[in-house]
Symmetry: C2
DNA sequence: GTATTTTAGTACTATATAGTACTATTGTCA
DNA sequence: TGACAATAGTACTATATAGTACTAAAATAC
């Protein structure tokens, strides 16, 4: 008899609640024209700027169709720009604007606040182990999706 | 210097990828008119049926406005019914239909497949610890949201 | 070197998600 | 018991998310 597992269910719930809290915190910090979903894209670009959309598909785990419309909005609000890759004209290079670069410090303050709530009452060791497991699971899932598409 | 943490970012990505895989698996198992999001609500009702919407807010971690429209659709497709609570007329009691009850076995088969992918390569002990941490985090976040609303 | 396949991205459509503002019912307290 | 506050849910609106079907460019095969 297999034990009842509900990791996916728990992950969904955590994502839901933490997203709502994060959005509220962004607004409290006067960041009104950016939300959690868009933040994930900007966050990824802070790690590595000037990438094609296909790279963002990997880094954010969003589908490319989702990214197309989110990038539309981020372009409208001047957080990113798109330009064609001259070497490979199928590709679109996404870059951060000055506006989004100057937001980084403030955004990181919100992230730190959020992490405090998220990991409330857990030791550094527990957090390390937890994030190691998260990375492992994400890798398994991504491989699976890649293989079965 | 605080260590860089990205639990929330990882959770979002896992939710995204696992949701896409789960949706695909549902379709492979001929469950075409139900998706992951709706499944979360039905799953919750299998644990405890005939509950007001406010209870589903807690069990699914969705907002009540989200639930209103999702229940509309689930009612249309005859997975649930709504009736007024005679004792407290502000409340609406949500119940499973025969259709959703008879789906349970098949849905659980998909869940088990999904869990195999999700926890690929992890020991029972690691999974136990991981789910314990998830429950802890969900509790912290829910309390926080409750207190600051 | 053309034909085919693969890759990169978008348009369109449908559903998921949540916020704000609202109605109706119940609870509270002077 | 009547005014006010709290609770339960919905209507409306905006954005997030992804699937299907498409176009264009590059890579590959013969």
């Amino acid at each position: 008899m297999q034990k009842l597992r509900e990791g996916g269910f728990l992950v969904s719930k955590i994502k839901q609640v933490s997203g709502r809290i994060f959005d509220k915190k962004l607004r409290e910090h006067q960041i009104t024209d950016l939300n959690t979903g868009q933040g994930r894209i900007i966050f990824s670009l802070w790690q590595k700027d000037q990438v094609p959309i296909s790279e963002l598909v990997i880094q954010t785990a969003l589908s490319k169709t989702t990214l197309t419309s989110m990038l539309d909005r981020l372009e409208q609000t001047e957080y990113i720009t798109r330009k064609m890759d001259e070497k490979d004209k199928r590709k679109i290079i996404v870059s951060l604007t000055q506006k989004s670069k100057s937001l980084k410090e403030q955004y990181e303050a919100v992230s730190h606040e959020m992490i405090s709530v998220f990991y409330e009452g857990l030791s550094e060791e527990e957090i390390d182990r937890f994030e190691k497991t998260l990375n492992h699971i994400l890798l398994s899932l991504s491989k699976y999706e890649e293989d079965y598409k």
